[in-house]
């Protein structure tokens, strides 16, 4: 009975509306949908206006919470001197390098432990044990081993990125539908082709989730690394703002972290969306 309902449900409805002869293309967004992102701006803008007004009438003390306009002018002056570009540049560089190294290693290890039972038994217990160490606990050791310059910072970020990517990829591979793998076996694909044609695409959704959360942690760890000791970078700006008593600089850096984090995540997310167009998920019907 349930099968009967299933075959006559939403799937068949999709067929009758889609064009039959042209290649598959996702339906174009409707006009209204194009402006939907604006809904998310209503509350932030209201808060911003309130904040500015309350600052102007003196409710917020400027030495603790400067007005948005004051923060904007600080940002502007940092931009004009070229300082800001330098700080942003070095921070982005650290995050991206750490992300590439961490995600790269995680991809290799995750693929191994997910695909091979032996590799899983060999490596996973150790990696899980390492994962349970709070990553910031590595900081003193990394500084001792690798010095206070780039290497220790990038390593710390790589460690942070590694685990979410590793975990998601490994469990993604382990959860690949046995039934699809059997189809590959029926067509006598060798191990390598089976990975390329079944495991890889089937694991992609979990992998992209891993990359996104890894990137998020990368941004978290770059702050930690730069607070510990740096002469440049947005994390350094945070500390600098604190020691010189400039809340406008602190808040400006926080805002920049938000913007950069969001931007890099959007890049990965949109790449993911493009690759996962085939997914039959709840969200793909509600874009």
């Amino acid at each position: 009975m349930s099968n009967f309902l299933k075959t006559n449900g939403s799937k068949s409805a999709a067929i009758s509306t889609a064009s039959a002869t042209r290649p598959y293309r996702p339906p174009k967004r409707r006009r209204a949908a194009r402006h939907q992102w604006a809904i998310g701006l209503i509350i932030p803008i209201t808060l911003l206006v309130l904040w500015e007004l309350l600052s102007r009438v003196g409710v917020f003390p400027p030495n603790l919470l400067p007005a948005p306009s004051a923060i904007a002018s600080t940002l502007w002056s940092l931009t004009v001197t070229g300082e800001l570009v330098e700080h942003i540049g070095i921070t982005v560089f650290r995050v991206l390098l750490g992300f590439l190294i961490g995600a790269g290693l995680a991809t290799v290890f995750g693929a191994l432990t997910g695909y091979s039972r032996f590799a899983h038994q060999l490596l996973d217990p150790l990696l899980q044990a390492l994962r349970s160490i709070p990553s910031l606990a590595w900081v003193p050791l990394f500084i001792l081993w690798l010095g206070i310059y780039e290497t220790s910072k990038v390593s710390l970020i790589a460690v942070g990125v590694f685990f979410p990517v590793y975990l998601n990829l490994m469990s993604g591979i382990q959860n690949v539908d046995r039934k699809l793998v059997e189809v590959g076996q029926v067509y006598r694909l060798n191990q390598l082709k089976l990975i390329g044609r079944v495991f890889l695409p089937a694991t992609l959704p979990a992998y992209i989730v891993g990359l996104r959360s890894g990137l998020g942690l990368g941004w978290m760890f770059v702050v930690a690394a730069e607070i510990m000791g740096a002469s440049k970078g947005l994390g350094f700006l945070l500390v600098d703002g604190q020691t010189t008593g400039r809340p406008d600089i602190i808040i400006a850096s926080i805002l920049l972290f938000a913007v950069l984090g969001k931007l890099t995540d959007a890049v990965v997310a949109s790449a993911g969306k493009r690759l996962l167009r085939w997914q039959d998920s709840y969200s793909s019907h509600h874009q």
Binding site: T7, E182, Y187, W278, D280
Partner: protein, 250 residues
């Protein structure tokens, strides 16, 4: 030619699924394996497919003992098992990777036409109905032109109307190349409509309980009195409880 010789299958947990199964299927023959659930019929099919191994005994295709999936065997599972990231066309092409693009294009197009899905070549599996998805799975199995086609309850997940239509469709397709077909089903009517021979398995352990040879021309009418009589007899023989029986007739 398909030979099954004294196949015995015991799972790791000690459960004996099949015992002393002997069977020979001739080229172009349509054979159904019927039986209540757990009688080992799917296990037998998986052994023939090379996806499971017999504990003792052997299965040979063209006098070649099977240890892994054989290139001359096509399989249609209970679920379509399409790769959700591939279009209909690329799913059908899945087993043709060794061919050049032009060759596989031509074969894929021809096979899609056979199952009546030419217009849906560029769709994704999620856009298909259950019956269409299963037709894509049939096309994928046919595309390598196997001389033996194994079907594991291929229509059991479909509604009655689609099921009947696909059974007729399957026979129609069979007419082209007349592959040997081995069909696992728990739908006795399906077995009666399609097969030259019905093998009744009984658990457990699964053994061949009896063989029914049907020398009736195809296509067969489902209301044919001979078929109806056989249906009654087989249902009684299978010790199908009244509850299950009424379900089977839905």
């Amino acid at each position: 030619m398909l030979h099954i010789e004294t196949v015995y299958k015991q799972f790791d947990n000690g459960f004996v699924a099949l015992e002393d199964v002997n069977l020979q299927v001739n080229p172009g023959e349509i054979v159904s394996l019927v039986g209540t659930s757990g009688c080992g019929k799917s296990t037998l099919l998986r052994i023939i497919a090379g996806l499971d191994k017999a504990t003792t005994g052997s299965v040979s295709i063209h006098h070649e003992v099977i240890n892994a999936p054989h290139p001359d065997v096509g399989i249609i599972f209970q679920e379509p098992r399409l790769m959700p990231w591939l279009t209909v066309q690329d799913n059908v092409r899945f087993g043709l990777e060794h061919l050049s693009r032009t060759d596989s294009d031509a074969i894929t197009a021809a096979t899609l036409a056979k199952v009546g899905l030419s217009d849906f070549a560029h769709m994704l599996p999620r856009q298909l109905s259950g019956g269409m998805a299963q037709r894509v799975a049939i096309a994928r199995a046919l595309v390598t032109k196997p001389s033996i086609l194994l079907l594991d309850e291929p229509f059991s997940a479909l509604d009655a109307f689609t099921r009947t239509k696909l059974q007729d469709h399957l026979l129609h397709i069979w007419e082209y190349d007349r592959p040997t077909m081995m069909l696992v089903t728990h739908d006795i009517e399906e077995a009666l409509v399609l097969s030259d021979r019905i093998i009744v398995l009984r658990g457990n352990p699964g053994r061949i309980h009896r063989t029914v040879t049907l020398d009736l021309p195809r296509p067969r009418k489902r209301t044919n009195t001979t078929l109806q009589q056989w249906k009654e007899r087989l249902l009684t023989e299978l010790d199908v409880s009244m509850a299950e029986r009424s379900l089977a007739e839905i």
